[in-house]
Amino acid sequence: MAISTVAPNPIRKRPAAPRARRMLGRALIYAALLLWTFICLFPIYWTVTTSFKSAVDVTQAHLIPWVDFQPDWKGWRSLGLSPDTLFGTSTARSEFMNRFVNSIITSVGASILALILGSLAAYGLSRFRYKFAWMRNDDILFFFMSQLILPPVVLALPFLVLYKALALLDTTFGLILLYTLTVLPIVIWIMRDQFNAIPIELDEAAFVDGLSTWGAFLRIILPLAVPGMVAAFILSLVLCWNEYFFAALLTSTDAKTLPVMVASQTGSQGINWWSMAALSTAAIAPLVVVGIFLERYIVSGLTTGAGK
């Protein structure tokens, strides 16, 4: 590079000016960081505070609790989750809890199923050589990964028809099957990377000790692959928890998940912002907690294969 002639090194001649520039540069970096922090957090802050506002505070755009406005349990009362209604009966709360439990069952069930299927396939692809007609290991892996490009809309309507015939419409089990297929490629990708990182000598040592193929997998390799499994599990949990499209088409009353409930309330509430805000807060709260405490696993799951 012929850059050195263009920009002669000024550091030795005048030390004061570069220091000022360095300070300015650092100030700019922190300013940019704080700006983006604001962009990330303000919508969340706004939603949480709005759930404690009354109509006047909403229309006058009051922002800071106790300074601008007096917080009130209004939004949470409409959900039946405020301190004074928490122990009474509330139809709103029982509906909310029902959806919440549905979401948990669906996303945990799908993640576990995907983890089982995905780990087995990933271990096989990482350790053995398969041949299926013309397909080798790489082709089989590509076959699994290629399902990522399938937009949900392609499968949604055929599934509607099939589930109707199978009497799986509006069931949690039906939804679990679909969610499993959406996260399976990601799980296989993460787990294969994980198994590749475990030295093959460990398998061989297990065989010498007299373990069978499955024995070596279950007793020796699987316990070592726990970090990857946790990352894959949490990532699928997040994706399934937030899924809306399939749930909106394939559930109506029994198996409705939280996003569908949030969406169905959006249109009907009008200016009833406090209860919408409370509902949104309750819907995102679990994932905000996951994001703060399990961030490490999400990052390691996402960055599998990157930077190699």
Binding site: W36, F132, N242, I284, L287
Partner: protein, 372 residues
């Protein structure tokens, strides 16, 4: 049956010595044959029952699902019996393969069939074969083409997301304090459900009368801050929301790439006297190109699925300006309950995606090879 089964070759270790004896082999084949016959029998009964040739049968198709499961288990057992150690190995892959065939391959093929039907789910008439009528209808459907045009905009906008995400990744990889805290905060939007975000941002923050964003815009001198009234403004607002949710994903992957980059390269550039911009443009960016292209392709794949934000904030409006293909098909189904037409549109879309991605993968291979 023999040829279509996955055959595990010699592994990197432990040769497949344990071959099954002849009697076990025969037993295994018999098992698979029996299970296949049973499955076909159940299917045949149900088909005859549905078409009305036979009164005996099941009230729904669920037994078919169970029969498929039983057949899959029997097939797995048959693999072990006939092939011994190799069968054990095939058993790792088979569950995922059977699952995928049942829930992806079969529905997709079934979808191709539905796409040729005129089938209104809410009417009693039932499906009627219409050949290519759905495709002809699609050619005249200006809303569909409009939605495809919007997808071009949304896809190109990924470049903007990428630029911002790269900036953030560079910020996070600079020498800063509280890096972990910033990383957690920057990651948060990705965790939130797009449906909740639709309300949080689309319906309340950007609300015309009381939303703080509108108030801010008025304060800055924009008299009429309607974020969803004019087509282009609405498109940009939707895109901004989607970017808010998805930039963290791009950022995290680019950050991992930046951290994996050898430090010596940066230092060498500094010794050569390159300033910040030069060392970025001539050193960092080219090294990051493979990671960048990978993340861009993944991001485009996900962008092509965009639906939930559009459905919940604008429902495609104003006048279809923000429609994505997915949200449009969703609406087509909700309004007309015509599964045939909706599926036909979706299949054409899938075809376009496959062509686009194949071209992109080809092109990206050439570019990444040029640099590395």
């Amino acid at each position: 049956m023999q040829n279509s089964a996955p055959v595990s070759d010699d592994a990197h270790h432990q040769p497949a010595t344990k071959r099954a004896p002849g009697s076990r082999k025969a037993a295994g084949r018999a098992l698979v044959l029996l299970a296949s016959l049973g499955f076909l029998l159940v299917a045949l009964i149900q088909v005859l029952h549905t078409t009305g040739t036979m009164t005996a049968g099941f009230s729904d198709w669920r037994p078919i699902l169970i029969a498929y499961l039983v057949w899959a288990v029997a097939f797995g057992a048959g693999q072990i019996l006939t092939r011994g150690e190799r069968g054990h190995r095939a058993l790792f892959l088979l569950p995922a393969v059977f699952f995928t065939v049942a829930v992806v391959i079969f529905p997709t093929i079934f979808g191709l069939y539905i796409a040729s039907l005129d089938w209104n789910l809410s009417s009693i008439e039932g499906p009627r074969f219409s050949g290519f009528d759905n495709l002809k209808g699609m050619l005249n459907d200006t809303y569909y083409w409009n939605a495809l045009g919007n997808m071009v905009f949304y896809t190109v906008a990924v470049l903007g997301e990428y630029a911002i995400a790269f900036g953030l990744a560079l910020l996070l990889s600079a020498e800063i304090r509280a890096r972990k805290l910033f990383r957690v905060v920057f990651l948060l939007p990705m965790m939130l459900s797009p449906v909740a975000v639709s309300w949080m941002i689309g319906k309340s923050l950007l609300e015309y009368r009381f939303g703080p964003a509108a108030t801010l815009a008025r304060y800055l001198g924009w008299d009429n801050p309607a974020f969803f009234a004019s087509p282009w403004m609405a498109r940009f607002s939707i895109q901004a929301m989607d970017a808010w949710v998805s930039i963290p994903f791009i950022m995290i992957i680019l950050l991992a790439g930046l951290q994996a980059m050898p430090k010596e390269v940066q230092e060498a550039a500094k010794v050569d006297g390159a300033n910040g911009w030069q060392s970025f443009w001539h050193v960092t960016f080219p090294i990051m190109l493979p990671v960048s292209i990978t993340v861009l392709i993944i991001r485009i794949i996900f962008k092509l699925k965009l639906a939930d934000i559009v459905i919940n904030v604008t429902a495609g409006g104003p006048g279809g300006a923000t429609d994505t293909v997915s949200s449009f098909i969703y609406r087509v189904y909700r309004d007309r309950s015509n599964v045939g037409y909706g599926t036909a549109l979706a299949m054409v879309y899938l075809l376009l995606i496959i062509v686009l991605l194949t071209l992109m993968l080809r092109a990206s291979k050439r570019w990444t090879q040029k640099v590395v």
